[in-house]
């Protein structure tokens, strides 16, 4: 461990990032982001999925090349070109999936590549002694000769951290380290973090558990859509304000007009769920979807939004409750069942769950329709061309070439093609999970307009978005989720950003004082 020369009075800047910018094609994953980490500071980096947190970390640690910006570590400018470069400079990163060798012993993992040797022979006993002493520092008294895999994820994390810090790290970055830990393990990890901070190490902590952020962090920086929303002392930031920073309106952003149409209970219900849920996945919920109505799902990351979508589409099998379509009970055990009923689903993970990158735009567009028609009723090439061209024109997919592999299109155009895939099946119900995520600003507005148009044509829509402003724009009703349960439904005039925020933060004590 490298000692910092003089113990600081206030926290001097250890890591100073200015104007960091990174684009993937047309998408600005990071747009002029500043970030300052002090010595001995635990600093939360927050934002919804796709906000740019991981990209920031990867650019700082040299995994991605940056487009612009400077990174200074202890007042010296650095430009690492690989994770190893960054480590040599003093920035260590531990990811959610621990990057060690599970079959080797804990001691071997700690000293891999730098085992103590004598005459070229590894001194096994000496290594174990040192490893044991090192981990004692972290409050772990374990048999370091046992394979790493025989220990819990928490121990593996701490081993990874100990190794990183022992390799003379001054900045430690933890990307979602607590996602797979239980409460007790989180405690152990936090103890270690506090100890390291006391030693002067700066820690960047990425997590989507706000409770943990309030418990352990000194400062918080929030990103949204690749832009810096702000950086605050956590002690002076009520939870509602923090949630507003993560989900709420950006001043610079154009605000959309709220759809004029009001919820109309006279509209006929086409799909309804009663007590639908799955143990350990999502608490049972009731949900009615009407023709020509958009229902928005709002909540923080991990609140159960995507889980709702997956249950509704049969991608996850419910173990309680019942679903009906037009009043008739239905079987909903697989996406195939759902597609057969006239449901469609555009998942949040466009690349891994949406597009078939290698196939053409045409093939991607006709896929769901063809799957529904069955093997023996193939769409002729002429029908395929006709369908593809119709939707390319209707949704303005660019370039307007049906024979281009879809993987080569921009995110926004891929999203439109996925919409086309379902529209081609003339669906009753469309479930859109974060339809505007990772999409450049132009396509963003178009998708929102599309959602409205579809609704006017009589489709039932269930839309998830972490952009509250956007949800308010097109939703007739908004369902707010918290801790994997539907907790509140807002209708009519109640559908506005402030009331959604209040509902999301309702369980937080800090929220009351601000809301009142």
């Amino acid at each position: 461990m490298s000692d910092s020369s003089a113990p600081p009075a206030t926290r001097p800047a250890l890591l100073d990032i200015r104007g960091l910018t990174k684009s993937f094609g047309a998408l600005k994953a990071l747009d002029d982001v500043d970030f300052t980490l002090g010595e001995g500071e635990i600093h939360a980096l927050l934002g919804e999925n796709g906000a740019g947190k991981s990209t920031l970390i990867k650019v700082v640690t040299g995994v991605f090349a940056r487009d612009a910006g400077t990174v200074r570590l202890a007042n010296r400018e650095i430009a690492p070109r690989s994770a190893k470069d960054a480590l040599d400079a003093g920035i260590a990163t531990v990811y959610q999936e621990v990057n060690l060798l599970p079959n080797l012993s804990v001691a071997q993992n700690l000293y891999l590549g730098r085992q103590p040797t004598r005459f070229g022979v590894v001194r096994e006993a000496e290594m174990k002694r040192r490893a044991h002493a090192l981990l004692l520092d972290y409050g772990l008294d374990i048999d370091v000769g046992a394979p790493l895999a025989s220990y819990s994820v928490a121990v593996q994390h701490i081993t990874a951290i100990a190794r990183a810090v022992d390799l003379s790290a001054r900045v430690l970055i933890l990307d979602e380290p607590t996602a797979s830990l239980d409460r007790h393990e989180v405690e152990i990890l936090f103890k270690v973090m506090r100890k390291l901070a006391a030693d002067g190490i700066g820690i960047v902590f990425v997590s989507h558990f706000l409770d943990q952020v309030y418990e352990i962090c000194d400062r918080v920086t929030v990103l949204r859509n690749g832009r810096l929303i702000g950086s605050r002392e956590i002690a002076q930031l009520p939870r509602l304000d923090l949630i507003r920073m993560m989900l709420g309106r950006e001043l610079a952003e154009t605000t959309h007009e709220r759809a004029a149409s009001q919820p109309d209970t006279a509209r006929e219900v086409c799909v309804s769920f009663k007590g639908f849920g799955k143990q350990g996945y999502l608490a049972p919920f009731d949900l009615e979807l009407r023709r020509g109505e958009v229902v928005g799902l709002a909540g923080l990351l991990g609140s159960g939004r995507t889980e709702t979508a997956r249950l509704v589409f049969g991608a996850e099998r419910a173990d309680s409750g019942a679903a009906t379509v037009d009043g008739k009970a239905i079987r909903l055990n697989s996406p195939r069942d759902a597609a057969g009923l006239g449901f469609g689903y555009c998942p949040e993970e466009r690349k891994t769950e949406g597009i078939v990158a290698e196939l053409t735009v045409r093939e991607n567009i006709v896929l769901a329709l063809q799957a529904r028609r069955g093997l023996h009723r193939p769409l002729s090439r002429r029908e395929q061309d006709e369908i593809a061209l119709r939707y390319i024109r209707m949704l303005d997919i660019r370039p307007p070439d049906p024979e281009r592999p879809i993987g080569l299109l921009s995110g926004g155009n891929q999203q439109k093609a996925l919409l086309a895939r379902w529209l081609a099946t003339s669906p009753k119900l469309l479930v859109l999970d974060e339809p505007t995520r990772g999409i450049d600003v132009g396509a963003h507005a178009e998708i929102i307009r599309l959602v409205r148009d579809l609704c006017e044509q009589g489709l039932a829509l269930l839309v998830i978005s972490s952009e509250l402003d956007e949800i308010v724009t097109y939703s007739n009703r908004v369902i707010v989720l918290r801790d994997r349960a539907h907790v509140e439904e807002l209708k009519g005039d109640a559908v506005e950003v402030s009331s959604i925020l209040a509902a999301i933060a309702a369980d937080a004590p800090a929220a009351q004082e601000v809301a009142s």
């Binding site: 996406p335 195939r336 597609a339 891994t352 597009i355 093939e363 896929l367 063809q370 193939p378």
Partner: protein
């Protein structure tokens, strides 16, 4: 239904022509054909005839690989089907013999398909089971002997002629047309390519990926069984130990040479068969040239390496890396 060689088949066409030209250079009579007893003879016909088992295997293998899987058991399935056919040949009519052999192939394919699609075992491991056990099963059928037969009907399968072409070649052409009709004449081709390209996305689009995977392993088993029958008919006997030995590797090689990625997705039946012919023209060429046949293995290894290098996604990375290394070197 399309059987045209796609534009991306140029490399394979070029490779085949080059190898045939080399064959002609080492053996000037290579392209000579003559008709005798209603059957064509010549080196080119030889290439086609000898290439038939691998071509048949590759027709099934290419579909399996397109779904992102692999079938290591086809050689063993050939042995089982060959043993079945040989032991029934002298007591049953040809249709019964063939139907039994194909049924055995279907059962083998179903077994593999269930392991992969239903039990979700990794394809390489799942099919390894039958690859190992299959020869034992074939031994049980032949009771450890080499079973010979004299049934002229079955012998015709290996040595007869149809419209001047050797029967195996005619069967292979028929199977290519049939497979193409089934795969491209229905939506199967698109759905297989989608499944191999992104199984999760396909499933979420309502594609029955499990049925898709099950059916390609079954088809692969049937193709292997047919290849096994032909191989047995050719030597008028079944050798449980050696029938189809290592041919699974040739079939995989044919598919890869035919431009289908082992990661799955896009596939071409015609190019897989072209791959089988490329391999066979190399074999025949080396035999004709009088070089020791061991050289064959070396040449094959070089071809595999060339194809894999040409397809390697890291090739670009390596080029970029070496360029950077050269730049930064003092």
């Amino acid at each position: 239904m399309t059987l045209r060689i796609p534009r991306r088949g140029l490399a394979q066409a070029f490779a085949l022509i080059v190898i045939l030209m080399i064959d002609r250079a080492v053996s000037p009579q290579f392209f000579n054909l003559h008709l005798q007893d209603g059957r064509l003879f010549g080196s080119v016909i030889d290439v086609l005839n000898r290439g038939t088992p691998v071509a048949l295997l590759s027709l099934g293998m290419v579909l399996v690989i397109a779904t992102g899987g692999i079938d290591l058991s086809v050689g063993a399935v050939m042995a089982i089907a060959g043993a079945t056919a040989a032991s029934l040949a002298d007591t049953h009519s040809l249709p019964v013999v063939i139907a039994s052999a194909l049924a055995v192939g279907l059962a083998c394919g179903l077994w593999n398909g269930i392991l992969v699609a239903v039990l979700r075992i990794q394809p390489i491991v799942a099919t390894l089971i039958l690859m190992v056990a299959g020869r034992g099963i074939a031994q049980l059928i032949t009771e450890g002997r080499i079973v010979t037969f004299t049934s002229p009907d079955l012998v015709w399968m290996g040595n007869g002629a149809v419209f001047g072409l050797p029967t195996p070649v005619a069967i292979a052409i028929g199977m290519l047309l049939l497979t193409a009709a089934v795969v491209r004449g229905t939506a199967l081709g698109l759905l297989i390519e989608a499944t191999g390209g992104n199984a999760r996305a396909s499933e979420l689009s309502g594609v029955g990926t499990r049925a898709m995977i099950l059916s390609v392993y079954i088809w692969c088993g049937i193709c292997a069984a047919l290849a096994g029958v032909i191989a047995a008919a050719d030597i008028m006997g079944a050798d449980a130990n050696n029938a189809g030995l290592w041919l699974e590797l040739d079939a995989i090689l044919a598919v890869v040479v035919g431009g289908t990625s082992l990661f799955g997705g896009r596939f071409s039946l015609v190019l897989a068969v072209a791959g089988a012919l490329i391999i066979q023209s190399m074999n025949t060429g080396i035999l004709l040239s009088g070089y020791p046949p061991e050289l064959n293995l070396l040449v094959k290894a070089v071809v595999v390496l060339a194809v894999l290098l040409a397809q390697s996604p890291r090739l670009g990375d390596i080029q970029r890396f070496t360029a950077r290394w050269r730049r930064t070197k003092p």
